[in-house]
């Protein structure tokens, strides 16, 4: 393990089940997301990809099972190197879903500054984030005046600003052109190289080679 890696945190999921509105969405998801690895989350519509990601992000409760972060072997991280005071799941991960999380009346720059304050201490990463998603041509526009793909790139810039080790991405390439999708793939690989992990729900639009985690559609009889 190289000393230059910023992150050292993995995610271990065992027997995780989630229900939504009394309906079981998925049962017994078990996998390990290692530091520096990317897993592509696949499965048909309704298989529970979004629910799994939201559960892992701490935005939705698990019905059963555990999902916990672990520090990879090798040198223990000093406490001040941890992404947050508590190395728990929510502090360690960042979720980017279908909604971009941007406000129509705020400019790109305002969003980046807001996220830098919200994620505490990411101010120096604004430039890096803007470069990673090539935001410069439209960063001074209001988000309402941006195209859907530009808003998506702006929204994903908070991944970089947050500095979190575990990225949970739900269809990140939606509305993106091929160039932007390639940029995102490169960014995820760079994140991996720093020891960061990513779990990405995608329908093959992301040009990245990574092992797949398949969620099966549940037969209708069991969903009641």
């Amino acid at each position: 393990m190289s000393e230059s890696r910023r992150h050292n945190l993995g995610l271990r999921v065992e027997g995780l089940a989630a229900a939504r509105g009394g309906r079981v969405i998925f049962e017994s998801a078990s996998f390990v997301l290692e530091p520096g690895a990317t897993l592509l989350l696949k499965g048909p519509n309704g298989a529970g990809k979004t629910t799994l990601l939201r559960t892992l992000a701490g935005l939705a409760p698990a019905a059963r099972g555990t999902a916990e972060t672990y520090l990879d072997g090798g040198p223990r991280l000093r406490l001040d190197e941890l992404p947050a005071p508590r190395p728990d799941r929510r502090a360690a991960s960042i979720y980017a879903g279908h909604a971009d999380g941007v406000k129509a009346s705020m400019t790109g720059v305002e969003h980046l500054r807001f996220w830098a304050r919200l994620y505490e201490g990411g101010a120096d990463r604004i430039e890096i984030a803007a470069g990673a998603f090539d935001l410069a041509p439209f960063v001074h526009l209001r988000a309402g005046a941006m195209s859907a793909g530009q808003r998506r790139r702006l929204g994903l810039a908070r991944l970089v600003i947050s500095g979190k080790p575990i990225w949970l991405l739900d269809e990140p390439t939606a509305a993106m052109d091929a160039v932007a999708a390639a940029r995102l793939a490169a960014l995820i690989l760079a994140h991996n190289a720093e020891g960061g992990a990513a779990l990405v729900a995608t329908h093959d639009k992301l040009p990245i080679e990574a092992p797949a985690l398949i969620l099966d559609a549940r037969p209708p009889a069991e969903t009641q």
């Binding site: 935005l59 508590r86 991960s93 971009d100 999380g101 406000k103 009346s105 705020m106 919200l118």
Partner: protein, 223 residues
């Protein structure tokens, strides 16, 4: 704390832009006063006797104008996820959203109150107690209103539900607010206790609103 301050700064700045709700509350406040003034007619004595209760009642209603969007807008565009994700205690984020609501909807109404009070022929000695009671009492509306806004999160036509849920919670603030404004106008000894009770209601709201609001948000985000 930095995260909460960031949320307050963002919300207040958004409220004063086009599409934000800051001016809606003030315009509603002035319009409602105009409606009362026209309805009561040229009886100036009656109008000045009713001025303080009317001003308090329409301040309460104008708080409702923007309450239903308190969490709904963030919920719809996904930014509520980022707020929940970065909050060590969601209660503090709800408190921050409530403070921002008061700064952008409550405080402008308090500042507009003297001008609107002219319209209702409020007696000169009534201005100071009315303004003080509004200043002390209207934050309770934003704190307690957050509960209704959080419960109605994700529902269509939430605004009427927010009003129904918030009405009973607003009653104590209204009663002691009007009591303080009236007692102060006639130099009654009941002014101080009423203002202190109003302050207690606001402090109670600052505690209850964030706790209940955060619980409702957790519940609604997973449904």
């Amino acid at each position: 704390m930095r995260a909460q301050l960031a949320v307050i700064g963002r919300d207040v700045s958004l409220a004063f832009r086009s599409g934000g709700g800051a001016l809606h509350s003030v315009i509603f406040f002035a319009l409602a006063a105009l409606v009362f003034a026209l309805a009561i007619g040229p009886d100036l004595a009656l109008l000045s006797g009713l001025a303080a209760p009317i001003l308090w009642a329409i301040a309460l209603l104008s708080a409702l104008v923007s309450l239903d969007r308190l969490f709904q807008a963030d919920f719809e565009d996904g930014s509520l996820d980022t707020i929940v994700e970065t909050a060590d205690f969601l209660e503090l984020s709800v408190l921050a959203k409530s403070v921002a609501h008061w700064l952008s909807a409550g405080l402008p109404v308090v500042l507009a109150a003297p001008a609107v009070a002219l319209l209702l022929n409020l007696p000169a000695e009534g201005y100071a107690p009315l303004l003080l009671s509004l200043l002390v009492g209207t934050p309770a509306l934003s704190f307690l209103g957050a509960i209704g806004a959080a419960v109605a999160l994700g529902l269509r036509r939430a605004s009427i539900l927010v009003a129904i849920l918030s009405g009973p919670l607003f009653a104590p603030a209204l009663i002691f607010g009007v009591g303080a404004a009236r007692a102060g106008a006639v130099d009654s000894p009941q002014f101080l206790p009423a203002i202190l009770l109003l302050g207690a209601i606001t402090l109670f709201g600052a505690l209850l609103g964030p706790i209940a609001g955060a619980a409702a948000i957790r519940l609604n985000m997973t449904a």
